[in-house]
Symmetry: C2
Subunit: 113 residues, 2 copies
C-alpha cells in the first residue's frame, strides 16, 4: 500500500467536504439500518437540531445520497432512504465505525454505545 | 445489514469529529503512502495553509494517529508517520477514496486527479 498511491486525490477531498459538515456522518450513518422518518433521525442523534438535520437531508438529497420517499397515506408519511450511492457510502461509514469501536476511547466511557 | 445496527454510535460520532476538522481527511490520507515531511504534505494539498496543517498534525499526534519522527541528521530531518491506529484509519480512508472515485463527479472534471 505504498509507492503507487498519490498523496492527494480531489475526489477524496470532495467526499470529505460533504462528510465534514456538522452532523453529516452521524445523519448518513443513522440511515444505514433502514429508511427513517425525520423525527426518528432527530431523536436518535443527541444534540442534533431540527434545522441542522433539515439542512443535511436537503444537501444529501441533492448529492444523490438519499431519497425522500413520500407514502400517500392519511396522514402522509415521509421517510428518508439511502440511494445506491448512499448505501455504498454507508458501507464505508460502517467500516469507520468498526475502526472507532476498536481504537477510540470516549472521554466518558459510561456513555451508552 | 439491517435491523441489528443501532442508528447511533458515540464512537462513530467521535471519529467523525476528528475527521470533520478542516483538511483533516486529506492530511491523514496524504500520509497513507508513507511518512512525509511538513513541506511535502503542505505542497501536496492545494489550498492547505501551513497553520492549518500544523494544527491538524498536533491534534493527530495527541490523538495517537501519527508520530513525529526526528532523524538526527545535519540538518535535522522531521517526518510525520501514521501509527498503527492511524494506518488502520488510513485503510478506511482509502475505501472512502474508492467510493469517491466511483461515485463523485467533480464540478470541473478537468481538475487533475
Amino acid at each position: 500500500m505504498t509507492g503507487e498511491i498519490d498523496p492527494y486525490c480531489p475526489y477524496f477531498t470532495a467526499a470529505m467536504e460533504t462528510l465534514s459538515k456538522r452532523w453529516a456522518g452521524p445523519v448518513l450513518r443513522a440511515l444505514v439500518p433502514g429508511p427513517m422518518r425525520f423525527n426518528a433521525v432527530a431523536s436518535a442523534i443527541p444534540s442534533l437540531t431540527d434545522s441542522t438535520l433539515s439542512q443535511r437531508l436537503k444537501e444529501f438529497e441533492s448529492a444523490g445520497l438519499i431519497d425522500r420517499v413520500v407514502y400517500s397515506e392519511h396522514p402522509v408519511r415521509v421517510e428518508y432512504a439511502l440511494t445506491d450511492k448512499g448505501r455504498a457510502l454507508g458501507e464505508v461509514l460502517m467500516q469507520l465505525n468498526g475502526w472507532a469501536l476498536e481504537w477510540i476511547t470516549l472521554p466518558d466511557e459510561t456513555a451508552s454505545n
